[in-house]
Every structure is written in C-alpha cells, then in structure tokens.
C-alpha cells in the first residue's frame, strides 16, 4: 500500500437539522490522500456545519463520518490528532503572542517545541517580525495566517479549511495555495467556500444549495 492510500475518509449519508429545520441531507463522499474537495453553497446552506461534523465538533442528525488509516477506522477520540481546521469562528489566544500560541499548540499536541522551528513556520506566512506581538493585537489577516499555521503544525492527514481566504491579501492567498499544494502530496483537503479561487483548488465540488 503506497503513501497516498494510507489515509482516507468516508462521509456516509450525513444529514443535519436544527429544531426541525433541515439544513442538508444525504451527503456522502469518500476521499483518499491527494484529494481536494470543495463544499460550496449559499450562506446558511450548512458548509461550516458540515465541516464541524467532519471534525467531530458537532454530531450529525443522521449518518456517519469515518477516517481510516490503512483501512482501519480511527477512533473518534483520536480523530482530532489526524485533522487540522481553520474557520472564521475559531480564535487563538489573544493574551499570548504569536510564537507563544504556536508553542502552546505544540506542547498540548504532544509535539516537541523549538523556537527556531516555530520562527520558520511564522516565516512561511510572513509573521516573523510579529512573532512576539500579542495575537489580540494582530490584524484580521495576520490572525488568519497564524490560524493556518496552527492547523498544519502537526502535519494532519486531513485539512479542513472553512473560508480560508477570508481577510487575506494576495500574499496570504499564495500561502493558502502553497499549503493546499503541499497537502495534495501527502493528505486530504476539504475547503468550504464560495470564492471562485478557493473552489478552483479542488478536484471535486459538492454544492449544498443544489
């Protein structure tokens, strides 16, 4: 079994409704390493909710999500360590600096932490100079860049990007493209967005509005 086939995800007939209102139903797909999927749809169609369900942050009303490693399902307890996620509703810690945030997420994930390694990661998104500035004082674009780095620092097999380009300039968008291209070599990516450029990175599209 080669590297590309080590990880896969199966989303089986997922439905979600809130207090009787159906958001979406019958969502099914499978991805293997190298796949990039886009989830599109109108505002309120459930793109972010679907990503939260895949991440295990929310229970579906029906259906199931399984991540497999060499064909063996990964337990739900372990799932967080196999995925990284960026979403507009997420925040890192305002009272910590950029590099302190990265150090914290290294340690809490059980990864070895080295300042130089974190500075290299920050350099990738152009935040080296702002490394020791409080996250709360970052601009919205800078916050988004740090959130991207936080999501990939453990090199997850599954990367979930909810509107990844929000608040980003052209340099930031280039970083996203770079991250998706790297992920394409080693893992799976699911992007929830309506932006043409972001949807354009995907091989397949699921439109929740249809």
């Amino acid at each position: 079994m080669n590297e590309r086939n080590q990880y896969s995800i199966k989303v089986d007939n997922i439905s979600k409704h809130f207090t009787g209102n159906l958001l979406f139903k019958g969502i099914s797909f499978q991805l293997i390493c190298g796949d990039v999927l886009a989830i599109a749809g109108w505002n309120g169609s459930g793109k972010s909710t679907l990503l939260r369900i895949i991440a295990g942050l929310m229970r579906p009303s029906a259906g199931d999500v399984e991540i497999f490693h060499k064909g063996t399902p990964i337990s739900k307890d372990e799932r967080p360590f196999f995925l990284g996620m960026v979403a507009p509703a997420f925040s890192l810690y305002n009272e910590l600096t950029g590099i302190e945030n990265l150090a914290f997420f290294h340690k809490v994930r059980g990864l070895s932490y080295e300042r130089q390694g974190c500075l290299t990661l920050l350099d990738r998104v152009g935040l080296t100079v702002e490394a020791d500035k409080l996250y709360g004082k970052y601009s919205s674009g800078m916050k988004q860049r740090l959130k991207l780095i936080q999501a990939i620092l453990h090199k997850p097999p599954l990367l979930l990007l909810d509107e990844p380009g929000s608040n980003l300039d052209s340099k930031g968008m280039a970083v996203i493209e770079d991250i998706i291209n790297e992920q394409r070599l080693f893992g799976m990516t699911i992007i929830a967005s309506n932006e043409k450029r972001e949807v354009g990175y995907a091989d397949r599209i699921i439109n929740l509005s249809e």
Partner: protein, 237 residues
Amino acid sequence: MKKGRWVTRTGSSTYLNEALAVWIRDVRGEFRTRYAVNAILMFAVTTLIAVSFSIGAYRIEDAQKPFLYAVLLWVIIVFSAFSGLSRSFVKEEEAGTMDVLKLSARPRAVFLGKLFFNLTLLGALELIIVPTFIMFMGYDIASTGFFLVMVITAGFGLGAGTTIVAAMITQTGARGALFSVLSFPLILPLMITAIKGCERAALGIATAGWPEVRIALAYTVIMITVSLFLFPLIWEE
C-alpha cells in the same frame, strides 16, 4: 500513529505534560488579564472587610468564636471562589478558543490543566484571605498544623468540585447563576466538613487522626476520579 509523515505526538508525551501546557497557558493568560484574580480578590477582600467591621473580634462571645469564625472563613472562601472559578472554561467559549482546544488537546489533559489552574487561584486566594482573616478577627487556633492541612485539603476539594461544574455550565445560558446553583449542593458536604475541622483546630480538641482532613481528601479523590470519567463526555458535547 508514530510512523510515516503524520507523527502527531512525541514518544514522551503524557497527559501530565499536556495538562501542564494548559495550566501554564492559563496562568500566563491570567497574569496578563487578571480577570479571575480580580473577581475573586475583590469579592474576598470586600466580604472580609465587611465581616471584620460589622462583627469584629469583640461582638462574639469567646465560646462561640471557634465555630462562628470557621463558618465566616469558609463562607468567604467558598463564595469568593464561586465568583471566579467558573471562568476557567467560560473564557474559552467566549474567546472562541474552545473549538481549537478541542481539536488540539485530549479531554482529560484539558480537565487536569484547568484543575491545576483553579487550584492555583484557590491557593493564592487562601494565602491572602486566611492570614488576613486570622489577623483582622483575632482568630486563636490551638492546633495550627491541623488547621493548615484542613484549609489546604478542603481547598483541593473545592477546586475539584468547581472545575467539573465549570465545564458543565460552559455552553449554557445564565452561566453565573447556574454555576452557583449546581456547585453549592456539591460543595456543601465539603464546606460543612471544613467548618467542623477548623472549629476543632481552633479548640484543639478531638483532632486525633484528623478525621475531617481525611474526609476532605476522600472527597477530593472521588471528585477528581469521577470528573476524569465524566469530563470527556461533557467535552464532546
């Protein structure tokens, strides 16, 4: 999980290391914002001053002092703790960091980290309030060792009980009121035990075997054990 590109954990990673990371982050964040510390200390100091001015050391008969002082001390400690300890999880929810933490840390490591943080806050509270109370009220304690150990062990119990309740109320409305309503019946047996223990310590009688200390220790162990099983279920919801 340790092979291939996706090395998500180092071999030396343990719950304790991850819990310490959560604890250090919370302490650092609290040091910079002082939100919980200010809430707890303001409540504790104002209550202590109100009690010491209105009751003082001379309005209570000597025979009643050991019991009444123990009651007043624990009322101040418990309700001061209630004013700030609920913040440990609520602040994650309000700041939008809860989901990132859920996707990064193992539930039991988060619980232990938050427990360590609440115990740190309680330790600081007791360090300030207990000597000040003794000084202001002229609290004579015959068995100082028993008194100190009683205060420390009951503090551990208080921290353990309030941490799990703080986790339970995070995603509810009217969190402040709910925290007190849920915590009070859980903490009451411990509070009664601590009051009894402090009274005995003040009187210096029947302290052999430190029974109240053992009850407080048992309460703490039971509460932490139950919480470690319960917390992952709360955390996933």
